[in-house]
Amino acid sequence: MIERRIGRAAILLLAAVLLAAGQAGMAPSRKAAAPPPSASTGGETDSANPLGATPAETSTDRYELNWLTDHYNAGTAAIVDARPLENFVAGHIPGATHLPFEDFLSGKPKQLDYLPPDQPIIVYCDGGDCDASHKVKKMLHEFDFAEVYVFVPGYPAWRDAGLAVEQGTPETLP
């Protein structure tokens, strides 16, 4: 009797799986947004420890704007903007890759192919209560990007310091 009950429960589960698969199969695929040619990703780096962090400090939060600008200017890290598209379009750090958390929900985002796997990544969002950058950091770890930092003050700190900003949509990948 117990086998029959388990079988019935399995059939109900299977029905739900099939319906969910059908819905997922009908969902429109989204095109990922390509990163623009990046001034921040092309520099020479010390691949062993490019941001001067100890192993214990990797993937931790950073608060100093100088820390970000130093590595931005030296091109020693890739910059990732984790904010929604409308915020990115309104203004972002020049050369930043637009990579919101939602892009991970459809599998591996194409933007990851453009991020240097052996280079540190600095993620930012809107500062304050914004936790999008931490979510993106977590996902980057899942895709084997080992050294990921969050610039906690986010885009407002960069913009309010009068540093160069860029506007417009990211390029679309094929």
């Binding site: 009950r5 109900l12 739900a16 799986v17 319906l19 969910a20 819905q23 997922a24 939602e102 929900l105």
Partner: protein, 158 residues
């Protein structure tokens, strides 16, 4: 059928339909919001690995609806109710873990239909009531108007 068994049968029917209503509402509101929004709601609980968020977000609403449909029709009522009870218990454990960890998380349980925004102990109390109701057909069987009947569906049969 004596008066006692009639009461049991009707009680089981009411519990079955009540549970189905809860699951149908929960599943429908999740489908209306779309899988991405639900995946983000799941993510905030910090319990599901990132790569599983979207599969879970696709699966759960349909699971709720399939179970609800089975309960409404009275098809395999014990099994359907057992799955509903297990699912509600899992949700409740998730809610409790959010409170224990001190996370400030939107419940996202019924698309905000009940004016509920954040996970609270009231959410857990509500779910506990749902679990108790969902467990009734597990114990008593499908009750009246169930499409499938079992030889062991009498009250108390395991």
């Amino acid at each position: 059928m004596n008066r006692s068994s009639t009461g049991v049968s009707v009680g089981s029917l009411v519990a079955r339909l009540a549970t189905a209503g809860v699951l149908l509402l929960a599943g429908y509101t999740k489908l209306q919001g779309g899988p991405t929004a639900f995946a983000l709601a799941i993510e905030s609980f910090e319990l599901v690995p990132g790569r599983l968020l979207l599969p879970v977000a696709y699966f759960l609403p349909w699971f709720e609806i399939v179970i609800a449909a089975a309960l409404i029709l009275g098809v395999w009522a014990r099994e359907s109710a057992a799955l509903a009870t297990a699912m509600l218990a899992a949700f409740t454990l998730g809610l409790a873990s959010v409170l224990v960890r001190g996370l400030d998380v939107d419940c996202g349980c019924f698309g905000g239909l009940f004016g509920e925004s954040k996970v609270s102990w009231a959410s857990i109390a509500r779910n506990t009531v749902f679990i108790a109701i969902a467990a009734v057909p597990v114990w008593l069987g499908g009750g009246r108007f169930a499409l499938t009947r079992e030889s062991d569906s009498s009250p108390g049969a395991a």
